[in-house]
């Protein structure tokens, strides 16, 4: 699904040159649920931005869903974001002036789908996250957990091949966080590839694989192997 080979990202100012990612290599297979952890400033967000085609990288090669996206122009990158990637942001990033239905519709409009197709997808996505009855509500009228579920519905409506979640529970209490996590697991069980950046070790353990980033490089842990090792030791 995703292959990054020797990706580097350098931020330059007149005085400073910062290597956010250096010789970053990662492969994520289709259907995986990967958690990405690491301390602040390790390069998690930079990785997520590059994985989601939100930002360029300085060197290396990035293949997404079999397509080398390294040299694509802005329009092509926008198209791939719209058709193949779903985003879930820490702060939900709902548009406050639009109701829930219109928020979910935003990426579908950019895809140029017919009104009928959009309506069906919106209804389906909202029913998956359990908010079909709140379609006319504004984001401000919903709790944080509900808002994040709307954001998930918005991501799901596009039927993405890859779901990128940036600290999806970072702004939620533990109960809400658990509900969101269960929702993500449910989505993953239907075959969607998920990459989730998180600080929460417990959430990280619920993924099938954990990628730890340190100083812009990967330090990977296979959770299943680790669990099996732990069981054998015991």
């Amino acid at each position: 699904m995703l292959a990054m080979n020797n990706i580097s990202k350098v931020f330059r100012t007149d005085l400073v040159e910062t290597h956010a990612l250096r010789d970053f290599n990662l492969q994520v297979n289709e259907g995986e649920f990967v958690s990405v952890t690491g301390p602040s400033g390790s390069g998690k967000t930079t990785f997520l931005n590059i994985a989601g085609l939100l930002d360029d990288f300085s060197h290396g090669q990035y293949v997404l869903d079999g397509e080398d996206v390294s040299g694509l122009n802005d329009n092509e990158r926008s198209r791939i974001r719209n058709e193949k990637i779903g985003f879930i942001f820490q702060s939900f990033n709902l548009i406050p002036d639009l109701n829930i239905r219109d928020n979910v519709e935003v990426p579908l409009r950019y895809r140029g789908l017919s009104a009928n197709d959009r309506r069906q997808r919106i209804e389906k996505a909202l029913s998956i996250v359990g908010l079909a009855s709140r379609a006319k509500h504004l984001p401000a009228q919903l709790s944080g957990g509900q808002q994040q579920r709307v954001a998930i519905a918005r991501a799901l409506a596009g039927e993405p091949r890859l779901l990128l979640a940036d600290e999806p529970t970072g702004n939620l209490d533990s109960m809400m966080a658990r509900q969101i996590m269960e929702l993500l697991e449910s989505i993953h069980s239907n075959g969607t590839t998920i990459i989730m950046v998180t600080h929460d070790a417990e959430l990280s353990r619920r993924a099938t694989r954990n990628v730890h980033i340190m100083d812009g490089q990967v330090s990977e842990i296979n959770l299943h192997e680790q669990m099996q090792a732990n069981v054998a030791q015991a």
Binding site: T45, L54, S78, R81, F89, S91, I95, Y110
Partner: protein, 400 residues
């Protein structure tokens, strides 16, 4: 097109949009009426006068002292002026056209107790009058030397023949050929011997500006005007010689207002020109304020929604789609403002018609004003919209 979500988002943040829409409405109301007034004034200033405006020099002579043989002096002046190189024709006149000073008489095609006299500009000229003014005789004949009467109070003889303008002829003798007809003026009976196509009289704002009567007559008195026609392009040379030429004949007199007829007209149309300048300035200022308002609202909106724009970009919006979003949003605000503006412009025009006797606004001024404001709105919002389209989608993942 995403008009519905844009409209519903706008309605939830309506204060700024309403203020700009009201400003656009007010601007349309003022701009259309101002354009209309400006165009009317422009038309007024530029309407054809019927005279050779650029090649006529005028002057006023005032004799000092008594025992002056005015007729002899005038005849000498006419000879001397005609001798100036570049001069083609010279006439005396009781008044200078378009100068704001002149004489008006009541005339009619009949004389009864119920006669309605038509106010008419009256110009007393010599046999060279028509050529001196560059008038176009369209019917009948020109004056001859025999037609000209030098008024003598002891004889009290008045001219018998007149030439009138087409406008006066159509007013007095509608659907008839005026040549040969009798024209009544108080107790006098005059015969119309010719018709000139057009001639503007003395007062530029008078509704009877084009109704004029040319009388072959000279009133020798202490003051008189000369109208001097020059060859094309020699007006300034002639003008510079007029004063000295006249003073060389008799320096016991005052030679005043040696001016080109074009300058006389410019001076008389001064208030109209001033009005055009003032209204143009108001229009420019209002349009500028409106543009600044639109730019300000759009820039504020872009700044406030940077994260939202980044999110839209992250969700797949192309740059042109972000650009289009802001252009459409502005177009909607402008359209709402213009809809209100049409009503306001009509109401404003009605007020001007009722209170200032302005003509009714021609229909096309409103669509023209709307088109200008639409284009101006798009022009104003393009900069902020383009800036919005350049927002990076990576903004969406920033937490601060």
């Amino acid at each position: 097109m995403e008009i519905r979500p844009i409209l519903s988002a706008m309605l939830r943040n309506k204060t700024g949009a309403i203020l700009i829409a009201l400003q656009i409405a007010f601007t349309l109301a003022v701009v259309t009426n101002a354009f209309f007034i400006i165009y009317q004034r422009w038309e007024k200033i530029n309407r054809p006068s019927g005279m050779d405006m650029h090649n006529i020099v005028t002057s006023r002579v005032q004799w000092v002292g008594q025992d002056v043989d005015y007729k002899a002096e005038i005849l000498r002046d006419l000879e001397a002026l005609k001798a100036i190189p570049g001069v083609t024709h010279v006439t005396t006149s009781n008044a200078i056209p378009l100068s704001g000073g002149g004489s008006s008489r009541g005339v009619s095609a009949e004389r009864t107790e119920d006669t309605e006299w038509t106010a008419t500009g009256s110009f007393l000229l010599t046999q060279d009058g028509l050529d001196s003014l560059g008038l176009n005789l369209v019917s009948g004949r020109n004056f001859t030397l025999n037609d000209v009467v030098w008024f003598d109070p002891e004889v009290d003889e008045l001219a018998q023949n007149v030439i009138i303008t087409q406008a006066l002829a159509e007013h007095i003798y509608p659907d008839e050929n005026a040549v040969g007809k009798t024209l009544y003026m108080n107790d006098s009976e005059l015969t119309v011997i010719g018709i000139v196509e057009r001639m503007h009289g003395s007062w530029v704002s008078w509704s009877g500006l084009e109704r004029n009567m040319l009388v072959p007559m000279v009133f020798p008195g202490s003051s008189i005007s000369y109208i001097i026609r020059t060859q094309p392009g020699l007006t300034e040379e002639v003008r510079s010689q007029v004063k000295q030429t006249l003073l060389d004949i008799n320096n016991r007199r005052v030679i005043r207002r040696i001016r080109v007829l074009e300058d006389v007209a410019t001076s008389s149309y001064g208030s109209d020109s001033d009005m055009m300048v003032i209204l143009s300035s108001v229009v420019c200022l209002l349009l500028l304020i409106t543009v600044v308002g639109i730019v300000g609202l759009a820039a504020f909106s872009v700044n406030q929604r940077t994260r939202q724009i980044g999110t839209r970009r992250a969700l797949g919006a192309r740059r042109y789609q972000i650009l289009r979003y802001f252009l459409v949003e502005n177009w909607l605000i402008t359209s709402i403002g213009l809809t209100l503006g049409v009503l306001l412009a009509s109401a404003f025009n009605y007020y001007l018609v009722v209170h200032f006797e302005l003509e009714r606004l021609d229909w096309f001024y409103i669509p023209m004003g709307m088109a200008i404001l639409w284009l101006l709105g798009l022009f104003a919002v393009y900069g902020p919209a383009r800036r919005a389209s350049m927002v990076s989608p990576a903004i969406a993942t920033r937490t601060v």
